[in-house]
Amino acid sequence: MTQAVRARLIGGLIPSLAIVTALLIGGVIIWASGPRIDGPWFGIWFVVEAYQALIEGAFGSRAATIDTVLRMVPYVFTGLAVMVGFRGGMFNIGAEGQLAVGALASAWVGFTVTSLPLVIHLPLVLLTGCLAGAIWGGIAGLLKARTGAHEVITTIMLNYVGGQLAAYLLNGVLRDRSPLNVIAQTPKVAETARLPDLVPGLHSGVILVIGVAVLVWFVLWKTTTGFELRMVGINPDAASYAGVNVVRRMTWAMGVSGMLAGLAGAVQVAGVNYRSTLGFNVGYGFDSIAIALLGRNTVSGVVLSSILFAALRTGATKLQFRTQISTDIISVIQALVLLMIAADQIIRWIYRIGPAQTEADPVAASTAPVADSESGR
């Protein structure tokens, strides 16, 4: 038992140290990019000033905090999407495409259907997004389970197919025909297809995201479905020996993964943009992978990582405004965090933490992101 406690402590310690270390290196970069003024204290003051601006930009005011939370919502959905894939033994690089088709489908239902009450229309919009994403992800799962086609490649390819499909539809049948519109986007969805505000400026998708996160945790760790999914993820041969229908479970895992990404798109449409615009999905694919890895493929980890990533992105604007440092510094910091999470030997070496207990857990050690644990809260 104490061993389990220790393992969980280290499990949380390493991501925290990775973040701290990345911020320190980021600080050096900020210092190097800052103005050259004599005196050693100026550089330190400059870095502190920059990070203070970052925090203020993310949480310094009510509007800033709402902004951070709004950014967090799609991160949690897509992070959970990638996590579910990982737990099922599959690497979903296609969250970006699944999000795009989800947004497209939900926007379509959102603006074409106009005569339904909100209690029917809004769930319909969200479910359509889920369904579209589930199909997009499920294809990759089915191909993997049936033919062995590697999901990394098929999801990348499906991203492009989704992108082209979106370009085709948003320039064609789904395009906003109003004379003022010059870009590839749908018309705005009906009022009945919009998530009502929880407080002004903050849509109720936040409630939804919490509910979905709890549901994902419950299904993965408390139900037979989750048990089967994790079994398939760790050892598909043992799963089929235990009588699990591996083809169905893999397809299901990628379908649910795609569904969560599609829901991210639908919630952006119904809660933030009220329409689907070409290219708004770009970047979510890799960010979601980073979030799932940083969160060690646990639900609480994904939520915390999403808050971190959202805060960094939101605060970056103020950081740039006050220090003239490009907002791209955030991408550099994120990349550094991910590097040190992926190769946790680096962190273990810097902070003299003992090596992972590999002999007790050979499979988990060889496929870190797929590692199972009962501490998946």
Binding site: K222, T223, F227, I234, Y241, A242, G243, D361, V363, A371
Partner: protein
């Protein structure tokens, strides 16, 4: 100069004239000591057998002598002088060749390409294998090994691949040839051919180290026998001074009963009934070619055969892991030919799989979780699809005690258990419910002697409780000791059936090689 600790049976070993020698080699893996101060040597033209159980440390020792593993202490000597082997490259350069248990041949490469690997002949930087191909043919002719240098390795039989390995070592100029369990994959007749080749090599001056856990072939071929037990040398004997029984007791450290105590079987109605089963392997080649068999309640039917003659596919087809092309499978009256694994499990079929790490267990899961792999979806372990942690824990606590799993901690990860205890987890899970039929494939492979006894006892207990047991094993001794009847498989067919009580090894060996046996019984129904 004498080698310490090696003269249990009174033969003073001398290191004089050793081509290759190990002095005090020690290797640890974490808390496990794989090799402990091992002394060992081989002379020119000598065939030395290294005998030991699975896990006795033979392979570790050979890997150190071949530079694949670095020792923690001790030294390797060649021609009496110490050498440092940092990689197989060093060993090869010093004239040590090795034929591994798992062949080190690249399947999509040709024979010549495989032999060239590492010492590639080239002309102006471009690979040129024409001379090499001629040399391979010449070497083959000299030692009576017939091989086509341009054939792709993946198209060769296992026996042929082994010859490629030997030629490869000879081409590299091996003065010492180490063979790791070379007969595991061969028929007795193929093994005899191999021994002929080895004797020829020894005659020409090559020193040969022959690793095995089979007593008879060791007595048959070796000039000298070194026995290992639990990572250390337990003794050294000459074949003329040894009997299978004396070697066995040296190997396991106490007198062992090669016979298993059991009552005569009282067979009842047929339970597992297989008719004209046809199954393909992964390459879609027919592996099981019209097998019919039946196993009755209260009997253990053994399946003998050289690895790769369709036993694996037969087991996978019966247990539902592999699709059948034609034929049928019944469990009692019930037709299970097209049933899913789950339906078979629910119908009372239990399965101890051949590869327990791959099929039988989910290593990062706990012991408790692994013990419900075949029933997690049923009451009391799940209710409305929600897992019931308490029921799982309670069962695990009970089974861990009853089946003597160590450590007795249901929350331990199965991956951290020893081979024998892993197997006990599987057996506890499979036999702790109402079982009508049990299919056990290589149930004692790689487990310690204590666990072997336990597992054999469990199989017989299942039989006596009325289950029909189908036992597939590569160990003839195990089959003879545990089974009531033995079927022999060759090239996907059942080529004979013998009574375990009266059968001889020779008889079964002949059948395994495709010869005609004393009794050929068509399908018993």
């Amino acid at each position: 100069m004498t080698v310490g600790g090696g003269s249990v049976l009174g033969i003073p070993p001398s290191s004089e004239g050793y081509v290759l020698e190990a002095r005090g080699l020690t290797k640890r893996y974490g808390s496990v000591i794989a090799n402990k101060e091992v002394q060992f040597g081989v002379r020119r033209g000598e065939i030395v057998a290294l005998l030991g159980e699975n896990g006795a440390g033979k392979t570790t020792l050979m890997n150190m002598l071949f530079g694949m593993t670095a020792p923690d202490a001790g030294s390797v000597l060649i021609d009496g002088g110490p050498v440092r082997l940092q990689s197989p490259r060093d060993a090869l350069a010093l004239g040590i060749g090795m034929v591994h248990q798992h062949f080190m041949l690249v399947p999509p490469f040709t024979v010549a390409e495989n032999i060239a690997l590492g010492v590639e002949p080239s002309r102006r930087g471009i690979l040129d294998l024409s001379d090499l191909e001629a040399q391979i043919t010449a070497l083959g002719r000299r030692f009576g090994i017939d091989i086509d240098p341009r054939a792709l390795v993946k198209d060769l039989s296992v026996g042929q691949q082994q010859r490629v390995e030997i030629i490869k070592a000879l081409y590299r100029g091996a003065r010492v040839l180490i063979l790791d369990e070379p007969t595991a994959v061969l028929t007795p007749q193929e093994a005899d051919d191999l021994f002929k080749v080895l004797r020829g090599l020894a005659h020409e001056g090559t020193g040969i180290v022959f690793i095995s856990h089979k007593l008879r072939e060791v007595l048959d071929v070796a000039h000298r026998i070194v026995v290992m037990r639990r990572g250390a040398v337990a003794g050294e004997v000459l074949p003329r001074d040894a009997t299978p029984e004396s070697l066995a007791s040296l190997m396991v450290g106490r007198d062992v009963l090669l016979r298993v105590e059991k009552a005569p079987s009282v067979p009842g109605n047929p339970v597992i009934v297989v008719r004209e089963l046809v199954v393909n392997d992964d390459r879609r080649v027919r592996a099981v070619d019209g097998v019919s068999l039946s196993v009755r309640t209260g009997e253990i039917v053994g399946v003998a055969g050289v690895q790769g003659n369709g036993q694996t596919e037969l087991v996978e087809a019966i247990t539902g892991l592999r699709a059948t092309q034609s034929g049928s499978l019944h469990l009692g009256e019930r037709d299970l030919t097209r049933a899913t694994v789950r339906e078979r499990t629910d119908a009372g079929l239990a399965h101890i799989p051949e590869d327990r790490q791959r099929h039988g267990l989910v290593l990062p899961f706990t012991v408790a979780q692994n013990m419900i792999l075949n029933r997690y979806y049923r009451l009391p372990f799940s209710r409305w699809m929600v897992m019931q942690a308490k029921a799982m824990r309670d069962q695990a606590r009970d089974l861990v005690g009853r089946f003597d799993v160590r450590p007795a901690n249901p929350e331990a990860r199965v991956g951290s258990l020893s081979g024998g205890n892993k197997q006990k987890v599987i057996i506890a899970r499979e036999l702790s419910r109402d079982v009508r039929a049990l299919v056990a494939s290589q149930p004692t492979r790689g487990v310690d002697v204590g666990s072997v006894v336990f597992i054999h006892g469990a199989l017989i207990a299942a039989r006596d409780a009325g289950a029909a047991v189908l036992l597939v094993s590569a160990e003839l001794d195990e089959l003879l000791a545990v089974s009531d009847r033995i079927l022999v498989m060759f090239r996907g067919r059942i080529v004979g059936e013998v009574e375990a009580a009266t059968a001889t090894r020779e008889e079964i060996g002949l059948l395994m090689a495709g010869g005609v046996g004393r009794v050929i019984v068509p399908a018993t129904n």
